[in-house]
Structures are given as C-alpha cells and as structure tokens.
C-alpha cells in the first residue's frame, strides 16, 4: 500500500490527535484512507461528515471537505450536502451513541431513503469522550459509569437495524481485521446507495477498564477470539452464537438511489 499517498490525506499539522494511545479509531481511519486511495478519490470531491464524540474528531484529521456537526445529526447534514451535489463522495463517520441513540431517527431514515452515503459506525459500546457512560450498544450485564450495577437493557444490533430499515449495503468487521474493514469500507463507498459498515472497536480507557479488557491487546484478542464469519455463523445455533460477533456482508442489493431518483424527477418536471 502506498503509505505516502495515505499520509497525504492527513492533516498532520493538527497532530497529536486526541485519541488515547491504543485506541481503535486510528485503525479505522487508516482503513478508510487506504480505501479512498485505492479508489483514487479526490480530496476536494470527498466529504467526511461526523457527529460528536471521539469518533467525530476523525473528520478534523482528514484533509478533505470535512464537517463536524452536532451530536447524532451528521447524516442529516450529509444528506443535504449529497442532495445538493450528488457527484460528491460522502462518508459519514460516527460512533454508536451518534448512530443508535441521539441520531437513531436520522440513521433509520437514511437507510430507508437509500441516499448514496457510506456510514462508518465505530462501535465501541460506550460513550468514551464523556467518560464511559452506557450506550444503546453496551451489552446487557456490562459495567459503565451510568450502569454501576450492570446494564439491564438489551443492546442494538446495528446491522440488523440497518437491514430492516432498507440500507443497500450492510457489513460488519472489527479492528482486529483491518484488511476486511478496509474491504467493506471500499465496497460500501462503491455501492450506489446507503451503506452501513459497522466496525467494532474498543475503548479500553472507559469500557475495558470496567469490563476486564483493560489493555488494547486484551481487546484485539477479544475481537479475534469472538468473531465468527457469517458463512460459519449460518451453521451455528443461537446458543453457540451467544456473545459472538458475526462479521461479514449482510446486505448487498441494488435498489433505487435517492439522488438518482430526485435528478430523474427534476428531468421529468423540467421536460414537461
């Protein structure tokens, strides 16, 4: 991989970044940049939108058209940008809180609308930036600062949510498999339609500390030991799959894309 090309996509003058040493977010950013380089994307034609939280700072570090918006709302901003200029490549980087809690409504409607945006959801099962509060993807039984006796509510399955809401491309990987994450991001960007790439990452600082995954290595090993490829998972029972992370491409379908539809509508209206 041409490192120099990847490097040119970084705003290194704003380093050091704010992520904790050993954070998984850098692995995801690297995977995204490799995908952009492979696809020969132009910085000035690439939009990176983000919400609020550790994940959102990624937009600042990438040298492109970047917009760091309000908590959970990035997809709505990205939708406006994409609709105004459909030729732009629009990528939305968000956290699990952004995507499934405060921004849940925008997420399901972006899936339904099937607008050509790639949503990369960095799921670390926690609100890291604010100090480790439970999120909608915190597994039941896990400890967080706002679940001091263990979380009692079930967590969201982001990929099932996206599939149910109508996304054209849905995939899951983990930071323990960066090549796969890169491939899924690349596939998502190439897909005409709304793509969701969930990448499980870790916050050893706030989640790991309370849940026996204190170091980055503990987390990488956890992901390695608990990931099950989709093909294999199909032959496993629900009991065998309990606590496992199913990785792979869940949806890859061709459905009409929103901006295509809108531009066709304009042509129809203006043609009359």
């Amino acid at each position: 991989m041409p490192n120099q090309e990847v490097f040119s996509w970084l705003r290194t003058r704003f380093f050091p970044h704010i992520w904790c040493p050993g954070c998984g977010h850098g692995i995801i950013m690297h995977a995204l940049l490799r995908a952009l380089v492979t696809l020969k994307k132009k910085k000035s034609q690439t939009v990176i939108a983000s919400g609020i939280g550790c994940s959102s700072r990624m937009a600042g570090y990438i040298d492109a058209c970047t917009v760091h918006t309000t908590h959970g709302r990035s997809l709505a901003f990205a939708t406006g940008i994409k609709l105004a200029k459909p030729d732009l490549t629009v990528i939305d980087v968000m956290g699990d809180g952004d995507c499934t809690a405060i921004g849940g409504n925008h997420f399901i409607h972006a899936c339904r609308r099937n607008i050509d945006i790639t949503a990369i959801v960095m799921n670390n099962n926690i609100y890291g930036m604010t100090g480790g509060q439970a999120s909608p993807t915190t597994p039941a039984g896990s400890m967080a600062t706002t679940t001091p006796y263990g979380a009692i509510d079930p967590s969201f399955d982001i990929c099932k949510l996206a599939e149910g809401a109508g996304a054209a491309y849905v995939a899951r990987s983990t930071i323990a498999n960066p090549k796969q994450a890169e491939q899924f991001i690349l596939n998502g960007i190439q897909k005409k339609g709304f793509s969701v790439v969930e990448i499980l990452t870790h916050c050893h600082t706030t989640f790991g500390r309370k849940n026996n995954r204190r170091t980055p290595i503990d987390n990488v090993n956890y992901f390695k030991n608990n990931s099950v490829p989709l093909a294999k998972a199909k032959d496993m029972s629900p009991e065998e799959l309990a606590g496992k992370i199913i990785t792979g491409e869940f949806v890859n379908k061709d459905v009409p894309e929103y901006t295509d539809q809108y531009l066709a509508l304009i042509e129809n209206v203006r043609g009359k």
Binding site: H68, R73, H109, V269
Partner: protein, 377 residues
C-alpha cells in the same frame, strides 16, 4: 410569475425566496408554516433546485445547512415547536458561519399551544434561543407584500454576513391573502456569498477580508478542502482552546452584526414627528395599531406609529431619539410582554412605556388599541 399576485404570506415568502435565488429547502411539516414547504416542493425541481422532507425538524435544518455548505442558497420554515427543535443546529450555523434563512410562522405556545392561532411569543427565542452568544438578524413582516420583500432581504443578509437570518412571521400574516406587486428582480441587487480568490492551498476559511471584516466561503465540491465545526475554532476552522483565538472568534461573531448594524436595521414611522403617544408594533399587530393611530389622529390625539421591520438588531437608537419627544410609548404584543423589554432598554426612561398584551389566540382589534391610546393621551 405574474406582476400582480394574490398570495398568502407563506406563499409570498416562498416565492420571494425563489426570487432571491434560494435553490434548497429542507424541512418538516408543521402548522401554520407548511405551505412554504409545499410550494418549495413544487417549484424547486423546476429550477433544478432541491427539496427534501426530512424525518424531523432537527434534520430539516441540518439538511438545509448541508445544502448551503454545498453552495446552494438554502431555506427552512417552521413554527413554534419546530423552532425550538431547530435551535441547536441554528447555533451550529452561527458558529460555523453558514448562511441559511429560517422562517418561524409564530403560533401560540408554550409547547404545542395553539397550532392554528396567531401569537408573537417566539421573538425573544429568535434572539436568545440557541445557547451561546451571537449576533442576530431577524425580520418581522407585517404584510404579504413585505413577506416577499423580506425573503429577498433575508437571503441577501445571510449571504453577505455569512450567518443565519430569521424571518419571524405569524399565523395571521402567514395565512392572510393580499394583493402583491411582484417587482422585477434586478440580479445585481441579489447578494451571493463572497467566494475565495485564493488558490485552495491558501484558503483560510474564517480569516476576515480586511476590506469588510467578513470571511469569504468556499462550497464543498468547488476544489477547496476545509473544515467546518461547531467547536470554537481558529481562522483555519480548527478547534482551539487558545484564549486569544477564542476571543478573536467570539468578538468577530458579534462584530459582524454590530459594525453593520446601521445597514441592517429597518423600521417605519407614521405621524411620528409631532406625536405625543407612539404605538410601537410589529408583524400582524402593526396593522391594527396603524389603524388605531389614524383613528386617534381623527379624534385630535397626537398619536404616532413606529414599526421595527428588523426585530434584531432592534432600532434602538432611532427609537431613543423619538422617545425624547414623546410622552408615552404603547407596545401591543401577542405575548405576555417580550419586545417591550427591548423598548424599555432603548428609551432609557425618557418616555413612559406601556405594555398591552393579548395571549388568547385572537388578534387585536383597532378599537382595543385605540382605547389604550385614549387612556394614556
């Protein structure tokens, strides 16, 4: 487009926006503003513009800001509850200096309140609704004709000063039908945001132009890469915790309205020169107030009329000058007393200020205001 139209206020705002060059609308249905969205849904595709009905009010303004970031003049419209929901992203547009126009067709509140009845209860929210300090530009049209005109002015101001501009209409103005003389638009009178003259490598997105103290703005997709954030940022748009940079940003945000205040402020006076009693009113209330002032004159009372067209910035200097000569200023409002506080601030005790309020969903009859004039005269 006909030269003479018979429009509702909401229609006039929609057509005025289109005439101003608006090509993007993001919104969500809400009474009594929905006609604006409906007209934009029909008209924008004809102009190669974009309309999108979003999943909620918050997304409506977010998409609108997105449309502007991508270079289109962008509008959203709402009413009370929706205006509350939009406040956070409105703050982002102030902080990130993204031009948009937001219409609030006011209805009674608080909460769901009176969806089909008029009120003026959001005028302080227009000034202070989002958290944090910023300058505000806000128009309050009092006729259908003026709805058309302020829509154009609002877009011009948003583009010139690179910030959100508000139009506070109300249910009466929004749904009233009147004759409108649709002026021929002189394209040279329409303002487009200043685009960067620098090559992309040299573009500094928040560095003010020394000539007018205002920064220019590139659009996404125009060859420039830059960063937009709601975090307090430096001239390059990057988050900062440096005290000097923070102060520089905040002072410039305030200054860009303060320093152009005289260019922005608009008001109207009738029979004010020799008046002893002034009725100060805006929006739909201005109409019954003016009628009451005329009637008072017929009865020999030296009554006058002062109508802020911009609620923010408020025409305080102009009102203060007038206050030196009058005894009493009556401020009728369809709220429990909001702009009257600004009137009191402006006149510094130089004239007696009398609030006259109505919050039952009805509008003032001229004779009610006349009775107050006669009482104080």
């Amino acid at each position: 487009m006909p030269d003479v139209a018979f429009w509702q206020g909401n229609e006039a705002i929609a057509y005025g926006s289109l005439a101003a060059g608006c090509r993007f609308f993001g919104g969500y249905p809400i009474t009594p503003s929905s006609e604006i969205a409906e007209i934009m849904a029909e008209e924008l595709p004809k102009l190669n513009g974009r309309f999108i009905q979003m999943e909620d009010e918050i997304a409506g303004i977010a998409a609108t800001i997105g449309g502007s970031i991508a270079g289109m003049k962008s509008l959203t419209a709402t009413s009370g509850p929706g205006f509350s929901l939009k406040q956070e992203n409105l703050g982002l547009a102030y902080m990130a200096e993204i031009p948009i126009v937001v219409v609030d067709v006011m209805r009674g509140g608080p909460s769901t309140g009176l969806p089909t009845k008029t009120a003026q209860q959001d005028v302080m929210q227009a000034r202070w609704g989002t958290h944090g300090d910023h300058g505000t530009i806000c128009y309050a049209p009092a006729s259908v004709q003026e709805c058309y005109e302020v829509a154009i002015k609002a877009f011009n101001a948003a583009e010139r000063y690179r910030q959100p501009v508000l139009i506070m209409s109300d249910e009466i103005i929004g749904h009233m039908r009147e004759k409108v003389l649709v002026p021929k638009i002189d394209p040279s009178k329409l303002v487009d945001r200043k685009r960067p003259a620098d090559i992309p490598e040299k573009f500094v997105p928040y560095r003010p132009d020394p000539k007018d103290d205002l920064p220019c703005m590139a659009s996404f997709g125009d060859g420039y890469t830059w960063h937009i954030t709601g975090l307090t940022h430096n001239d390059w748009g990057f988050p900062t915790n440096n005290a000097d940079e923070i102060e520089k940003k905040m002072k410039r945000l305030m200054r860009k309205i303060d320093r152009f205040r005289d260019d922005i402020v608009e008001y109207e006076t009738v029979s004010a020169e020799d008046a002893e009693v002034i009725v100060l009113a805006y929006g739909s209330v201005a109409r019954s107030s003016l009628r009451a002032v005329h009637e008072a004159r017929n009865r020999g009372i030296k009554a006058g009329f002062f109508r802020p067209i911009t609620l923010w910035p408020f025409p305080d200097k102009e009102l203060e000058k007038l206050a030196r000569k009058v005894k009493t200023i009556i401020v009728p409002e369809l709220n429990c007393g909001q702009m009257v506080l600004e009137v009191e601030r402006a006149v510094h005790g130089k004239a007696k200020v009398v609030a006259h309020n109505l919050v039952n969903g009805e509008l003032f009859k001229p004779e009610e205001i006349l009775a107050v004039i006669e009482e104080v005269a």
